[in-house]
């Protein structure tokens, strides 16, 4: 398996595809840094300054364009799909798959090695991006991170990799299911556009409004509407990840549910401890892990039972 893993890695590192993605990594990092540089001066709090490097949006642009949102909605799906969409079917159409499988290797070694190699590549890219931001950010703000901030960032990094692995798994699933590289790419992109973007911004709110109308204007109805919308939104892996990263990067976020202003008044305006934040994000992370596992397991099973003939 190591042989295939090594070859896949070498392929990734020498491909133009990875160069493009790496350029994108630099662009995203630069943008996040710029936003932080401009925005962080307007902040008033003194706690978790270092974490704000990653979360502060520039005031002049929509709040959507901060680092966690870009990572969740655009960057990770893009890298995941770029690394996985042709993993199996390109080898099948070029005829290399049957050549490799006629060697004394287990069939699952092929798909395992490909999956691992793409996760490895993805990890390097994300880690590069975060280190770039952390390094330059340190120069800009001059405040060293506390140990809790370092741990939070590390957990965030791990969660990004899990989330990226989900997209790789999904793209790979399509590459097992569809013979043509074009079909699997388009299907992956369609999935991303729908569940990552349209669903979050249009479909889920519209559905919630239709199922739980707020026309009578009671607080009950409004709460019901918001709760339903949240439930629907959480069906999207992107939203799920976004919520968990918010909790991890913003210790001041104390709940993900709905609270009334009355309830909020009783809350002590203190950041959550690391353990409590983790507890809040845990269900989200578990679901992401299991989604990744499901995607991979389905591609694994389908691949194992598939006919390998080239034509």
């Amino acid at each position: 398996m190591f042989t295939i893993f090594r070859k896949e890695l070498a392929d990734y590192f020498t491909s133009i595809r990875c160069l493009v993605v790496l350029l994108l990594v630099f662009a995203v990092s630069a943008m996040a840094l710029h936003a932080a540089q401009v925005g962080i001066r307007g902040e008033t709090g003194t706690e978790f300054v270092f974490l704000r490097l990653f979360t502060t949006p520039e005031q002049t642009i929509p709040a959507l364009l901060n680092f966690p949102t870009i990572i969740a909605l655009f960057f990770m799906p893009f890298i995941g799909i770029a690394l996985g969409f042709d993993a199996i079917n390109s080898e099948r159409t070029s005829g290399t798959l049957s050549r490799v499988l006629s060697q004394p290797v287990f069939r699952d070694n092929v798909i395992n090695a490909k999956f691992l190699a793409s996760i490895f590549t993805l990890s390097i890219m994300v880690a590069t991006s975060m280190l770039l931001i952390a390094g330059y950010g340190l120069r800009i703000i001059g405040v060293p991170p506390s140990s809790e901030e370092v741990i939070r960032l590390f957990i965030y990094l791990v969660s990004i990799i899990i989330y990226g692995a989900f997209w790789i798994g999904l793209a790979m699933l399509f590459s097992v299911l569809f013979r043509w590289v074009g079909t699997s790419l388009l299907t992956s992109l369609a999935f991303w556009l729908f569940f990552g973007l349209f669903y979050i911004f249009m479909v889920a709110p519209a559905l919630a409004n239709a199922l739980a109308p707020t026309a009578d204007g009671t607080a009950q109805a409004a709460i019901h509407n918001v709760q339903l919308q949240q439930l629907l939104l959480r069906l999207s892996p992107s939203y799920l990840f976004l919520e968990s990263s918010t909790v991890l990067l913003l210790p001041l976020v104390r709940t993900l549910g709905v609270i009334t202003l009355g309830e909020a008044a009783y809350m002590i305006p203190n950041p959550l401890s690391l353990g409590q934040s983790l507890l809040l994000a845990w269900p989200h992370l578990t679901i992401l892990i299991s989604l990744t596992a499901v995607c991979f397991a389905v591609s694994y099973v389908v691949f194992m039972r598939q006919e390998i003939r080239a034509t």
Binding site: T3, I4, K7, D11, T14, S15, E91, S94, G95, T96, L97, S98, R99, V100, L101, S102, Q103, P104, V105, F106, E307, I308, R309, A310, T311
Partner: protein, 324 residues
Amino acid sequence: MSLYDLADGEPMGKKKKIVVETKDLTKRYDGVTVVDRLNLHVAENEVFGLLGPNGAGKTTTILMLLGLTEPASGSARVFGFDSTREPLKVKRLAGYLPEKTGFYDNLTARENLKFIARLNNISEAESKRLIGQVLEAVGMTEMADVAAGKFSRGMKQRLGIADVLVKKPKIVFLDEPTAGLDPEGINQIIDLIANLPKMGTTVVLSSHRLYEVQRVCHSIGILSKGKLVVEGSLDSLGREALAEGRYRIEVETAEASPQLIKVIGKISGVRKVEAKGNLLQISADSDLRAKIAKAVVQSDIPLIQMKVQEFSLDEIYMKYFHEG
């Protein structure tokens, strides 16, 4: 040139070990039986040709022999290993050249072969030596460091043979090795294949080009609609198919002689003698050329030529297909 250190030059004709054996091998796709109770036997160090029209089940048979596809029922054994239960052991011994073989276009010929050598757990030093040897054997030493994406179909096919040989296989399965090649490319491939048994490698090749099969194969099996129509060595098949199992000997003499026809007719084993002018067509139970020649010489009629009629695979093939 010796490709292997241990090229055992076992003499042909000896009682041979059966290395590929299938028992009622059957495969169905969506209820359609593609391979139907196939019983195939391939002897060691021979070139076996799997013949049949497109869609007869040749590729499926090869895939099942390699354990790349599971049979619906029946079993296949390669060198004693069950292809379905012990596919890795089979794949360690067997090389497979798919019909549409592909290489990693971004890697050079040498790197492509190196990858395969690594998958076979061949040490770096050993693989370097082997790759040099197989590239030389297929005449691609000069192209070794060119990216495989730049190769023509003929070169790819030769590289494919090299690729199959890198792991020093005991047996190779070649699926349509000459498809899509020009005449020169076909000759190169056929010559390479013909040399393999001398190096201790059994060859099973599938094809529908009878002429090439006839040039290189010792035995053939003809498949039609998933069924094995006939199996055996080329010359015995030819006799069975076209002369009711008899030898046909043609004798040309300087002049016609009714006396000679009578004499030859009396040789034991001769079934029928037909005369067409100076040409005698003799049907016999065995190869009686020596006795016939003696009779002709004794009759004082000058002998011009004598030969045993050869059967072309075309005739055999068409005969079985009309029956099938």
